[in-house]
C-alpha cells in the first residue's frame, strides 16, 4: 500500500500513525475501535457505580454512601450504561462491520462518522464532569440524581436546585446529535453502498438490524431532543412547560420521554440480536434459520416499538381503555420476538455445534433474554404491572434484557470478531472462564431481584429496614456482583494478554460465512482490494462449500479474485480535523448553556462555525492507494 498523492486545495492531514492520525481519522474501522475502547471505559465506570449501589444494599441499614449519593449513583449508573456504554459499544460493531459486511470501502459520509464519535466523547465527558464539579463545590449538587428518565417535576428548579439536571439535560442533547448523525449515515450506507449483487435480502442479518436500529434512532431521538430542550428552557430561561403552577403537565414529559424511551430499548437490543444471529450460524455450520422471517421480525419489532410507549406509564392513571390498548400492543411484540428465539434454536438444531466462547455468550444471550422477555410480558398486563411497578421486579427485567441480552451479545461479538479487528485470537480457555464467571455472577446478581420485587422491595431506595425478608436475597445479589466483576476482570486480563501477542491470525479462523472474513485480519484501510461480487446470501460460505443441489456452485475465478490486487488506484477519503473541531465547539457551547455564561458559549459557536466552514471548503483531499504494494 502506498500513499501516492494528496488531492485538494487546502491540504488535509495525512498522518498514518500517532495521535493526529487518530484525531483526524475517517476510517470506519478506526472509528469503530475508538467507539469500543471509549465505551468500555464508560462501561467500567457504570459498573463501578453499580458495585457501590450493591455494596450499600448488601445489608439493611448500611451507610456506605449517603442517600443523596445513592440517588446520584443509580441515575448515573443507568445514564452511563445506556447512553455511554451499551449504545456506543453496539455502534462500535456497526462502524467496524457495516462497510465490511456489505462489501463497501467506508460509510457514506466518513467525516460525519468521525463527528459522531467525537460528539459522543464530548457528551460523555460533559456528563461526567459533574463528578468533578461536585468535588469542587460539594454544596452545588452537580451530579444528576433524578433518575435516568428525569421525570418532571423532580427535575424542576424547585425540587432540584443544583446543576445535576442541567448536566444531564445538556449532556444528553450533546449525545443525541452524534447518534442522529450516525443514524442518517448508516441508513444511506446500507441503501446506497452495497457491493454489486448484494441485494437487501442478501445482506448479513447484522446489517439489517443496523438498518432498523438506525431508523428507530432517527425517528425517536427527535422526541427526547424536544423533551430535553423544553426542560432546558424551563430550568434556564424560566419557561413553563412542566411548571404545574402555570398549568404545565408532568405527564406530558412522560409521554415525550417514553415516545423516545421505548424505541430506545430496541435500539439497545436489536443490534445485539444481530450479533447473536451472526455467531450462531457460524458455530452451528448452518445458515441462519428463517432468514427472511428474521428480517421481517426485526422490522416489525422496530415498527411496533413506536406503538407501546405508554406501558411505562400504567400506574399514571391513563384509564382502562388506554391501558388496555397499550397492554395489547405490548403483548403483540412478543410474537416477532418469540419467532426470533425459535429461529435461533432452529439454527442450532441439527447443526454441528462448536462451543466456543463467542457461542457460549450467544447461548447465554438466548437463555437470559428469554427470561427477560417473559418478565416483560408479565408487566405488559396492566393489572400485573400495578403490582410490579417501581419494584425490583422491573429492575430484574431490565437487567435481564440489558446484561443477559445486550452485554452478553456484545462480549460474544468481541470474542467472535476480535481476530478480525486486532488480528489476534483471544484465549479460549480464559474466555470460557470469563463467560462462566459472568454468567453465574449475573444470574446470582439479577435473579434475586425477581423475588425481592414480588416481596415488594421498591426501586431506588438507598436502604431498607430489617425484618421484611429482604436480607438474604440482597446479600446473594451483592455476592453475585462480585462474581460478575471477577468475570469482567478476566476479560480485561484476556484482552491485555492477547494484545501482547503478535498479529498473525488467519483471514477466516472460524470458518465463517460473511464477507469480512475474506479480507486480511486486521483489514487493510481500503477493506477489499477488489470489491466483492455477490450472487447468494452467505456468498463466502458457498465459495468454500459449493452446494449444487441448491443451485449454488463455486465461481473459482471470483473466489480467486478476493485476494487479487486492484488494477487502478483506490481513492480513499481524506482525513480531517474538522469533525473533532465541530464536536469540541458543540461541547464548549454546552458548558456555556450550563453556566449560562456568554464567553464559553461564544467560543463554542466560533468553534462550530470555523469547523463547519472548514468542513465545507477544505476541498476533496484524500489519498490514492496505488496497486503496487501488497497487504498480505
Amino acid at each position: 500500500m502506498a500513499i501516492a498523492k494528496t488531492l485538494g486545495f487546502i491540504p488535509r492531514p495525512t498522518a498514518q500513525t500517532g495521535f493526529v492520525s487518530w484525531l483526524t481519522t475517517v476510517d470506519h474501522k478506526r472509528i469503530g475501535i475508538l467507539y469500543g475502547m471509549t465505551a468500555f471505559i464508560f462501561f467500567l465506570m457504570g459498573g463501578f457505580e453499580a458495585f457501590m449501589i450493591r455494596l450499600q444494599l448488601m445489608k439493611p441499614g448500611l451507610s456506605v454512601v449517603t442517600a443523596d449519593t445513592f440517588n446520584a449513583l443509580f441515575t448515573m449508573h443507568a445514564t452511563t450504561m445506556i447512553f455511554l456504554a451499551i449504545m456506543p459499544m453496539l455502534a462500535a460493531f456497526m462502524n467496524f462491520l457495516l462497510p465490511l459486511h456489505i462489501g463497501a470501502r467506508d460509510v457514506a459520509f466518513p467525516r460525519l462518522n468521525a463527528f459522531s464519535y467525537w460528539s459522543y466523547l464530548g457528551g460523555g465527558l460533559f456528563i461526567n464532569t459533574s463528578w468533578v464539579m461536585q468535588l469542587i463545590e460539594p454544596a452545588g449538587r452537580a451530579i444528576p440524581d433524578s433518575g435516568w428518565f428525569g421525570y418532571a417535576n423532580l427535575t424542576s428548579v424547585n425540587f432540584s436546585g443544583g446543576m445535576g439536571p442541567d448536566f444531564w439535560t445538556i449532556g444528553l442533547l450533546l449525545l443525541g446529535i452524534g447518534t442522529l448523525v450516525s443514524g442518517f449515515n448508516f441508513i444511506v450506507t446500507i441503501l446506497n453502498m452495497r457491493a454489486p449483487g448484494m441485494t437487501l435480502m442478501k445482506m448479513p442479518i447484522f446489517s439489517w438490524t443496523t438498518l432498523v436500529t438506525s431508523v428507530l434512532v432517527i425517528f425517536s431521538f427527535p422526541a427526547i431532543t424536544v423533551a430535553l430542550l423544553m426542560l432546558m428552557f424551563d430550568r434556564t430561561f424560566e419557561a413553563n412547560f412542566f411548571n404545574v403552577a402555570a398549568g404545565g403537565s408532568v405527564v406530558f414529559w412522560q409521554h415525550l420521554f417514553w415516545t423516545f424511551g421505548h424505541p430506545e430499548v430496541y435500539i439497545l437490543i436489536l443490534p445485539a440480536m444481530g450479533i447473536v444471529s451472526e455467531i450462531l450460524p457460524t458455530f452451528s455450520r448452518k445458515p441462519l434459520f428463517g432468514y427472511s422471517v428474521m428480517v421481517f421480525s426485526t422490522a416489525l419489532i422496530g415498527f411496533m416499538g413506536f406503538t407501546v410507549w405508554s406501558h411505562h406509564m400504567f400506574a399514571v392513571g391513563m384509564g382502562p381503555v388506554v391501558n388496555t390498548i397499550f397492554g395489547l400492543t405490548t403483548m403483540a411484540i412478543a410474537i416477532p420476538t418469540g419467532v426470533k428465539i425459535f429461529n435461533w434454536l432452529s439454527t442450532m438444531w441439527g447443526g454441528r455445534v462448536k462451543i466456543t466462547t463467542a457461542m457460549l455468550f450467544a447461548l447465554g444471550f438466548i437463555m437470559c433474554f428469554t427470561i427477560g422477555g417473559l418478565s416483560g410480558f408479565m408487566h405488559a398486563l396492566p393489572p400485573s404491572d400495578a403490582q410490579q411497578t417501581d419494584t425490583y421486579f422491573i429492575v430484574a427485567h431490565i437487567h435481564y434484557v440489558l446484561i443477559g441480552g445486550s452485554i452478553f451479545a456484545i462480549f460474544g461479538g468481541i470474542y467472535y470478531w476480535f481476530p478480525k479487528i486486532f488480528g489476534r485470537l483471544m484465549d479460549e480457555k480464559l474466555g470460557k472462564w470469563n463467560f462462566w464467571m459472568m454468567f453465574a455472577g449475573f444470574n446470582l446478581f439479577a435473579f434475586p431481584f425477581h423475588f425481592l420485587g414480588l416481596m415488594g422491595m421498591p426501586r431506588r431506595i438507598y436502604t431498607y429496614a430489617p425484618g421484611y425478608g429482604f436480607e438474604f436475597w440482597n446479600l446473594v445479589s451483592t455476592i453475585g456482583v462480585w462474581v460478575l466483576t471477577l468475570g469482567i476482570l478476566l476479560f480485561i486480563m484476556n484482552f491485555v494478554q492477547t494484545m501482547r501477542k503478535p498479529i498473525g491470525t488467519a483471514r477466516d479462523p472460524w470458518d465463517a460465512r460473511t464477507l469480512e472474513w475474506t479480507t486480511a485480519s486486521p483489514p487493510p484501510v481500503h477493506n477489499y482490494d477488489v470489491i466483492p461480487q455477490v450472487a447468494v446470501r452467505d456468498e463466502f460460505w458457498y465459495q468454500k462449500y459449493p452446494d449444487p443441489e441448491h443451485g449454488v456452485v463455486a465461481n473459482t475465478k471470483k473466489a480467486a479474485g478476493y485476494g487479487a490486487h486492484p488494477e487502478h488506484g483506490i481513492h480513499m477519503p481524506g482525513q480531517s480535523f474538522m469533525p473533532a473541531l465541530v464536536a469540541a465547539g458543540i461541547t464548549v457551547l454546552g458548558y456555556g448553556l450550563l453556566f449560562t455564561s456568554i464567553v464559553p458559549a461564544a467560543i463554542g459557536v466560533v468553534g462550530i462555525l470555523a469547523g463547519v466552514f472548514g468542513w465545507a471548503f477544505e476541498g476533496d483531499g484524500g489519498t490514492v492507494l496505488e496497486a503496487a504494494g501488497g497487504d498480505d
Partner: protein
C-alpha cells in the same frame, strides 16, 4: 457536507440517488418528528393563557400573512435558483439564491418585530404556557430560517467566482431541500397557530 460525494458516488449508488441527497431527506424526516413534538406541546397547552394575553389579544393576522407570503415567495425564488444552476445559468442562479436569502431575512425581520410587539403586550417566555409554547415553537422555526439564510449566503460565497453553475447544482439543490422544508413547516405552523385561532 462533503463535496466528493457528488462527483464520485452519483452513478455508483444502489438507489441511483446521490448519497448526500438521500442523507438529507432522512435528516428532514427526522426534523419532521422534531417539529411535530413541539407542535404537540403547543396544542396540548392551548388555552392556558394564565394572567397573560391570549392568542386573540396579540395576533395580527394581516401582518403575519404578509410575512408568510414573503417566505412562500422565497421558495419560488429557490426553485428558480436550483433550476438555473442545473441549466448552467450560473449568474442567474446566484441572483435567485440571493433573492431567497433576502426574503428569508425579511421574514426574520417580521418575526423579530412580532416577538418584540408581543413582549411589550405582556407575552413572554415565562408569562404563561401560551407564551412558553409559542415562543419556543416559532423561535425554533425562526432559528431554522436563520441557519438557512446563513447556508444560502455561504453558497453565494462558494459561487463568488463564476456563479453557481452545473458543477455546484448539487450543492444548491440540497440547500433548496432544506429551504423548502423550513417553508413547509411554516405553512403548518401558520395554519395551526394563526389561521385556526382566527377560525375558532
Amino acid at each position: 457536507m462533503s463535496h466528493e460525494t457528488v462527483h464520485e458516488h452519483v452513478e455508483m449508488t444502489n438507489t441511483g440517488i446521490d448519497n448526500r441527497k438521500l442523507g438529507f431527506w432522512l435528516f428532514l424526516s427526522s426534523e419532521t418528528v422534531f417539529f411535530a413534538c413541539l407542535l404537540v406541546g403547543y396544542l396540548v397547552y392551548h388555552g392556558q393563557n394564565g394572567q397573560g394575553p391570549s392568542p386573540k389579544d396579540v395576533f395580527e393576522l394581516p401582518l403575519t400573512s404578509l410575512s408568510t407570503f414573503v417566505l412562500l415567495m422565497s421558495s419560488l425564488a429557490m426553485v428558480l435558483g436550483v433550476f438555473s444552476a442545473q441549466q448552467g445559468q450560473a449568474k442567474a442562479a446566484r441572483g435567485w439564491v440571493l433573492a431567497t436569502a433576502l426574503m428569508g431575512l425579511t421574514f426574520l425581520g417580521f418575526q423579530a418585530y412580532e416577538f418584540t410587539t408581543f413582549y411589550h403586550e405582556g407575552l413572554t417566555l415565562s408569562s404563561s404556557l401560551f407564551g412558553t409554547t409559542f415562543f419556543v415553537l416559532t423561535g425554533f422555526h425562526g432559528a431554522h430560517v436563520a441557519v438557512g439564510v446563513l447556508w444560502l449566503l455561504s453558497l453565494l460565497f462558494h459561487g463568488r467566482k463564476g456563479g453557481l453553475g452545473q458543477d455546484k447544482a448539487g450543492d444548491v439543490e440540497v440547500a433548496g431541500l432544506y429551504w423548502h422544508f423550513v417553508d413547509i413547516v411554516w405553512i403548518v405552523l401558520f395554519t395551526v397557530i394563526y389561521l385556526l385561532e382566527a377560525a375558532i
